[in-house]
Every structure is written in structure tokens, then in C-alpha cells.
Symmetry: C2
Subunit: 206 residues, 2 copies
């Protein structure tokens, strides 16, 4: 369709991105339900009309923003630091979870947005596609890491372990974000859960 790319298009794309970044920030601050188009316009430094021009309506904004956040998450999720030390694999597994439990703006934004997406999907089936897809990809990745730690485990056992660990992380993340659980404690709990799931209760366990 687009036979050429002029400066106007570049500017437009930049504005689009600015809007999405602003939306991510605002969702982290006020939630999906608390996102106001006017406010987003101010945050992104554009007019409200422009947002409608680019994203059709409020639902469009939400959908694109959640996609945007999903893509962005792959950046800090994609930590490949191979090597073959003995329990190197376990560390890698732990890392992949601990990366989601950090008090960094981007991580918070992504976690909050994910929680919001999950909660909204309870009432809005339109969101379930994204949710299921991203969730499955994540679980699959975790199952792979688990497989490296437990080479003898069956594929289904690995898949179920992965489901439990990812579901647990979501639960812990929500407790952290809702101010009921400290970040440090959440980190300890997930690490210990990994230990339990991989059959290595660490010191102090029963």
C-alpha cells in the first residue's frame, strides 16, 4: 500500500508511539478503567482528536497499548546468557522470574498492565485472545527452562510445573502491586517455589 515514506509519516509514527508510551504510563498509574482520553492527550502532548484519528476509539487505544506493552516486555525477558555450569540452568530459570519482580518503571508498567488485562478479560471476552496467546508463549518458554533443569521429567509434568509457576508469579505480582507483599518477600517466595517444583527444597524447608 505505502509506496513511499515521507517526513510526515515519520512524525506521525513518532506521535503514535508517544501516545502508546503515554498510555502505558497512564494505565500503570490509573488502571485500564481509569484511562481518560483527554488525560492521555495531555500526557502525550497531542490533541484528543488525533488519538481518535489514529486509534478509532477507546477500545482501540487499549488494544494497541496492550500489544505495545507485550512487545516491549520481550526486551527484558530475552536474557540469553548461556554457559554450562552445573546449576546454571536453575539460575537462568530463577532469573527469568525475578526479572518480573523488579521495582523499575518499565517492569511495573508491564506488570500492572498485565494485571489489568487479566482483570478486564473477566468481563470482556474480546481481550482473551491476547491473554491466552501471550500466556501460552510465556508458559512454553518456562517449560523449556524447566526441561533444562529436569531433563528426565515428562513434557506434561514440565508444562504443569510451568503453569503453576507462572500462575504463582501472577498472584505474587498482584500482591506486590497492591501493596500487601514486599518485593523482597515476593522474590523469596518465587525462588523457593522454583526450588520446591524442581525437587530441591533449600535449607530451612521443613
Amino acid at each position: 500500500m505505502a509506496t513511499h515514506t515521507n517526513r510526515g509519516d515519520r512524525v506521525a509514527t513518532d506521535r503514535r508511539t508517544a501516545i502508546l508510551e503515554g498510555a502505558a504510563r497512564l494505565i500503570a498509574r490509573r488502571g485500564v478503567r481509569g484511562l481518560r482520553v483527554e488525560e492521555l492527550a495531555a500526557e502525550a502532548g497531542v490533541s484528543a482528536a488525533l488519538i481518535y484519528y489514529h486509534f478509532k476509539d477507546r477500545a482501540g487505544i487499549l488494544l494497541r497499548t496492550l500489544e505495545f506493552i507485550g512487545d516491549r516486555a520481550e526486551r527484558y525477558t530475552a536474557e540469553r546468557c548461556d554457559g554450562s555450569t552445573p546449576d546454571r540452568h536453575r539460575r537462568e530459570l530463577e532469573q527469568s522470574f525475578l526479572l518480573e519482580l523488579q521495582d523499575l518503571p518499565e517492569v511495573r508498567e508491564n506488570s500492572i498492565a498485565w494485571g489489568e488485562l487479566r482483570a478486564s478479560a473477566v468481563f470482556d471476552p474480546a481481550l482473551r485472545g491476547d491473554l491466552a496467546q501471550a500466556g501460552a508463549a510465556w508458559a512454553h518458554e518456562v517449560a523449556g527452562l524447566l526441561g533444562a533443569v529436569l531433563p528426565v521429567a515428562s513434557a506434561t509434568a514440565l508444562a504443569e510445573s510451568a503453569e503453576r509457576l507462572t500462575a504463582l508469579l501472577e498472584g505474587l505480582s498482584m500482591r506486590w502491586l497492591s501493596g500487601v507483599l514486599s518485593l523482597e518477600h515476593a522474590q523469596e517466595l518465587i525462588v523457593e517455589a522454583i526450588a520446591v517444583e524442581t525437587g530441591r527444597p533449600s535449607e530451612g524447608e521443613n
Copy 2:
């Protein structure tokens, strides 16, 4: 203050309860954020003005409803069927979790409301008190049940196990409610998690 209780008070109390029940249903259907006072009025068969008369404002409705739901949850949570069969205690523990994973209107309502409360608390610190209190009580109860299964475990180990299991249940519950995980699978996963946490990997595990 109230020196007597006449028929008018009885009716008023009934209406109050009807409103709270309606609110619970509506929250389960549309979420906390989707709760509309007019709609609630219709659902409860009263006028909107009456709701404001009884609950002051929208926030008041929410707070009372969440209390109401919390109290109601104790009913089906309070299953005491003692006896001292060998792994009687484990069954009791499993039951206490499986009670939260049933496709009954009341259970759904409570689970959804709980998820909404959790999600709302991320942006509204006013809700964190209720959340922390109810969560702590639940975790404590679970720790007790765990203690019966693992008499030799330390108190902290039990508390941490309880935290992991309750957080996992919340995560699984959200996945079920958001239509990404079947109820049966959620039940299997929590039962298996209990097995793993109590150190008895069931058949098929690695």
C-alpha cells in the same frame, strides 16, 4: 442509639441487604469499575436515591459490598469435618482450596469480587486494609491446615507454604475467571501444588 426496632427498620434492613446482594451480582457481572448506581437500583428493585441514602456515595457502596462478600465467604469456607484418618488432614487442606474453585454463583461472585478488589487496590490504597486483613486471615488458616499435614515443619516454613498456595490459588482463579484455564485443570493444578508443597509428589510427577 436505636432504642427500639419497629417494622420500618426491618424493611429498611431488608432493602439494604437486597442492595448489597444486587451489588455482589452486578460486580460479578460487570466488575467494580462497571458498577452503575442506576443499574444497581434496578437490580435491587429500589430507587437510586435510596442507595445514596443508605450508603452515602459510590465508594461507600463498594466498601460495604466487599465487606458483605467477605462475611458471606466464611459460610462455605467454614467446613469443619474432623476425624483422624491417616491423610485426613491432606484431604481437608485440598477441600479448603477446592471450595474456591467451583462453578457456583456464590463462589464465582466472591472470586470475581476478590479479584476486582485486588486489582482496584493497586490504584486505590483505601482498599488495602480490607485486602491485607482478609488475606492474612486466610493464610493463617491455611498454615494451620498445613501444620496438621506436616507436624515437623517450622512455623515460618508453614507460613511461606501457605502464602505460596494462596497466591497460586488467586492466580489460577483469575485464569479460570478470565476464560483461559478450565476449571478442571485449575483444580488439578492446585491439588498437585499441594502435593508438591507437602512433599508428596503424586504419580506421574518427574
